[in-house]
């Protein structure tokens, strides 16, 4: 019986429910709703307790980043970009910096490469830890968030030590990184990785063997493998569907080619599988961080000298730099017309497709209580949709 439930594919066409008939109820989930990821909303049409139609509404966090960036100097955009995604600002910083370096023809020192990789992996871990709390919470499991957010906080402590910022690190600056590792930092990293790993073991026991979580998450939000290209699905959502796609391997940026890791691929592609895959990726993060600490050069320059940021002009050109963030393909398209300000910066956030097109389809037929769990299982974050 369960087997069939696992393979439910929601219809591609939208239902056209007649709201006047009295059979349906229109209700909003969000923006002010505990079961929503960030400040966004879902417009649900429900029949009984199952969703007939779902529309994603975004824009509550729209600040017009792409417009603002066209008004600012190249270097002035550096503090701005990290605000596009609060839980993982470093991917923005990296993509923007890498795009600039590519257009300006700058080679960054090896140490900066390693520290950038470290920074990206640490924030990946932190973001996953935040997510797993949300995922458990969306299914009514309030314990996990108590642990995982604390673990995330420990990782943020590391960031504070390294970069001076807790949430917005502003560490990966065009040309390299902003500072060398402080004394004793790597030791702290390893200690905290041990703590987090111990906690992940607990989470695995408590969450993934929890009967309620299992029953509710299994079969929820099934994504067939052939959707991946059709919808532009990336990251763990694609990997859980059995498509081995990881930009860290595919693009081989930063120090990833020098690290030993395998792309983790799932099969069932439902909410449970996605959660499980992310848990495994958290272990992978910890492993990668340990490898980085091991291999990171202890000396050497951490940044390349840049021209005066007040007049820095980037040669005309365009590029697209992508990185594998926790949710998938995070990319910056940067076009320069040779002036001291960008001509166009476009941000490609993985949530763009996950939270809108994919979510709207997956929600069809779902029990209303599971909408929150489904939403979180796609791991979306609204600011990168609306920028």
């Amino acid at each position: 019986m369960k087997k069939e439930k696992l393979r439910v594919i929601p219809p591609a066409e939208r239902a056209n429910p007649d709201l006047e008939s009295g059979k349906y109820l229109l209700m909003w989930q969000g923006p002010q709703h505990p079961g929503i990821t960030g400040n966004m909303s879902l417009k649900l049409i429900v029949e009984g307790d199952s969703v007939v139609d779902c529309e994603t509404h975004v824009g509550y966090l729209h600040r017009g980043f792409e417009k603002l960036m066209e008004r600012r100097l190249w270097m002035q955009n550096f503090p701005l970009v990290c605000r596009i995604a609060v839980p993982e600002p470093d991917f923005n910083e990296y993509c923007y910096a890498a795009a600039l370096e590519e257009l300006a023809g700058i080679q960054i020192p090896d140490k900066a490469v390693w520290l950038r990789t470290l920074s990206l992996e640490m924030i990946r871990l932190a973001s996953f830890l935040m997510w797993i709390g949300g995922q458990a919470g969306a299914f009514g499991h309030g314990t996990i968030i108590q642990w995982s957010v604390t673990m995330r906080d420990y990782v943020l402590d590391l960031f504070e030590e390294l970069s001076g910022g807790r949430i917005y690190h502003m560490y990966i600056i065009p040309g390299g990184v902003r500072g060398d590792v402080p004394a004793g930092f790597f030791k702290h990293v390893l200690e905290i990785m041990d703590t987090v790993q111990k906690n992940l073991d607990d989470i695995e026991l408590v969450m993934f063997h929890n009967v309620v979580f299992k029953m509710r998450a299994e079969g929820l939000g099934y994504i067939p493998a052939d959707w991946v290209d059709h919808y532009g699905i990336t990251g763990p959502n694609a990997r859980a569907a059995g498509v081995a796609r990881d930009l860290r391997k595919d693009l081989g940026y930063l120090a990833y080619p020098r690290l030993d890791f395998k792309t983790i691929v799932g099969q069932k592609s439902d909410a449970y599988e996605r959660a499980r895959l992310r848990l495994l990726e958290m272990y992978q993060c910890i492993d990668l961080i340990r490898q980085i600490v091991d291999q990171c050069p202890k000396d050497g320059p951490f940044r390349e000298k840049l021209p005066n940021p007040l007049y820095w002009k980037i040669p005309a050109g365009e590029t697209y730099v992508a990185a594998e963030c926790t949710r998938g393909e995070y990319g910056f398209y940067v076009a320069s017309d040779g002036s001291d300000k960008p001509r166009r910066v476009a941000v490609r956030g993985p949530s763009y497709t996950h939270a809108v097109a994919v979510m709207e389809r997956l929600a069809r037929g779902v029990n209303i209580a599971d909408v929150a769990g489904l939403m979180v299982s796609l791991h979306t974050y609204p600011p990168e949709i609306e920028r």
């Binding site: 729209h62 417009k67 490609r348 763009y352 609306e386």
Partner: protein, 177 residues
């Protein structure tokens, strides 16, 4: 990759192939052959993944330049496809049937630039803005700061001095202008 450039040139009049990196190239097409070319790239050449679609306002040339970024995971190669459309009559073929999420990008472009994609689902609905009365705000001739200053109250009491002018007033006010 140049074989692909030749094929695209022969079939769709593509031009200006430029290798930005080993795994990234850009190419320019005519807007009226865009949808066919994208379909061809998706089905025949393996560029099955649409990373994103957006536009650039090239106001100096009077055009919007569309930007479609495709990726072929098999080849490990990304391709940015450009097409210029008239800024006065910004209408393009919709690709929402090629990629299931493309309509979102098109809705965004409609709202941000005023580019129309006839037939694209919900393309006329508001996307990120609500009750917006100004022009499409990503157009270069829309001044964000001026709009902000005119619309949103600022906390008063700020004033700054230019060091050079201040020093002139203090140290040599008699100097000729």
């Amino acid at each position: 990759m140049n074989e692909l450039a030749t094929r695209l040139a022969a079939r769709y009049g593509a031009r200006g192939w430029h290798d930005q990196r080993a795994d990234l190239a850009t190419i320019v097409l005519d807007a009226d052959r865009l949808r066919d070319a994208l379909a061809y790239l998706r089905d025949q050449e393996g560029y099955r993944h649409l990373s994103f679609a957006t536009a650039i306002d090239n106001i100096e040339r009077g055009v919007f330049t569309l930007v479609y970024t495709l990726r072929s995971h098999d080849k490990g190669h990304s391709l940015i496809v450009h097409a210029d459309i008239d800024r006065q009559k910004p209408v393009v073929d919709s690709i929402h049937l090629l990629w299931a999420q493309a309509w979102t990008y098109q809705r965004e472009m409609k709202e941000w630039y005023g580019i129309d994609f006839p037939g694209s689902p919900r393309v006329d609905e508001e996307f990120v803005l609500e009750g917006w009365e100004g022009p499409p705000m990503m157009r270069r001739d829309f001044d964000s700061l001026a709009y902000s200053d005119a619309t949103y109250a600022e906390r008063p009491g700020r004033a700054t001095s230019d060091p050079a002018r201040h020093m002139k007033e203090q140290l040599y006010p008699e100097a000729a202008e």
